[in-house]
Symmetry: C2
Subunit: 232 residues, 2 copies
């Protein structure tokens, strides 16, 4: 039989995955709001974000209670701390969904322009990153988490390409600066969601292997060795 | 005599304040880089960010070690968890300093334009928020933390005003879309630093009072009472 503490960990994991589902839904709805120019969908994103915020508070409390309840083993401790960080990342994903929906509402007020950016493709890439990051968390699979890190540079490139193309459009169609600017901001929000997926993947790797992959760090044991080789 | 655990908490606090100082320095240097159009200063921001990243890893490890070492009392537990969150916020402030420096480097390549935004004033407001947030952490003073929350809406307003003024400039001077866009992005980065200062202030309030002020939540005791009145 699993201990009360272990059961608590199970509940924590379950709640976090539910929250992940809500965050994914917020991205999808926001993207659909943009694509269909449908303001009703923005409202749904705003409601989803409130649910995500409630969920964040609830998960934080569960985690703190678990830590206070008894002294977890090293791996469990890292797991709970990873949950706290992932929780905070997912909450920001919800906020960014709201930002995308707000820009989409702004776009609905503006004349429809020819957009030189494949927002749908970028959204798919970003959603996939979030889903994979959560899968890696569910399975404790560091390989999946590493694959998420790889995808981040693809999204970064999409964002940079979008920037160049949108600046050109703005120069050539100065009457439509505002809608192009909205689209540009949407690409930045998507890229920030990708960053949060990256953070989640890094936290999974930290939890699973005890290694810190942030900032391309080597394993912690090497951190304070000035002669140790560093990647990049 | 203070216990080994208490001494650990002291060291943790000290390290976090040092990191806060580095983050503040990164904002100031980035802002100076923008103002003086001096690319050398951008390099200093990049170096500072590397130090901040190292510091983040170090503080995370100290905090995890403390939690693993012994079972902290409820207040100490909340303190260590607050440190972990603040640590992550300060690291992001360093990243945003880099973003500002990068946009400033881009601006140096472009013709100098008449900027309809008081970046210096906005930077001062944002730096003050970060400093006050850290002061509230140092003193455990929730009143100072609440004052930081008030300031956030001022910075938000500055950002919104900047958006409107910059869109107008872009429409009227389409040949200078790019520098205006750089300035617009800088105002977004500054606003995000203000958001991180707000997060820090919220974490201090959480640590000091055990109350969760995120998302304008009521005290936790009321969280699960559906009939309890909610602010906003």
């Amino acid at each position: 039989m699993r201990s009360r503490f272990q059961q608590g960990l199970d509940v924590l994991k379950e709640r976090l995955l539910e929250m992940g589902g809500m965050a994914e839904a917020a991205i999808e709805l926001a993207s659909e709001c943009y694509r269909k120019r449908d303001g009703q969908l923005a409202q749904q994103v705003f409601e989803r974000e409130k649910m995500i915020n409630d969920s964040e508070r609830h998960i934080d409390e569960l985690a703190v209670d678990l830590l206070a309840m008894q002294q977890p083993m090293a791996t469990d401790l890292r797991f709970v701390l990873a949950v706290l960080k992932i929780n905070s990342d997912l909450e920001r994903v919800g906020d960014l969904g709201v930002n995308i929906a707000q820009r989409s509402l702004d776009l609905i007020q503006e004349p429809e322009v020819d957009v030189p950016v494949d927002i749908a493709r970028m959204t798919t890439a970003v959603s996939t990153m979030v889903r994979r990051a959560l899968e890696s968390f569910l399975s404790g699979n560091a390989d999946v988490a590493h694959a998420v890190l790889q995808m981040d540079s693809i999204v970064d490139r999409m964002k940079d390409e979008a920037f160049v193309n949108l600046v050109t459009k703005m120069k050539d169609n100065s009457e439509n600066v505002r809608p192009y600017l909205d689209v540009l901001l949407i690409t930045r929000y998507l890229e920030r969601i990708a960053d949060h997926a990256t953070n989640i993947a890094e936290d999974v790797i930290f939890w699973v292997s005890g290694a810190d992959v942030r900032h391309n760090a080597m394993r912690l044991s090497e951190e304070f060795d000035p002669d140790a080789p560093r990647s990049r």
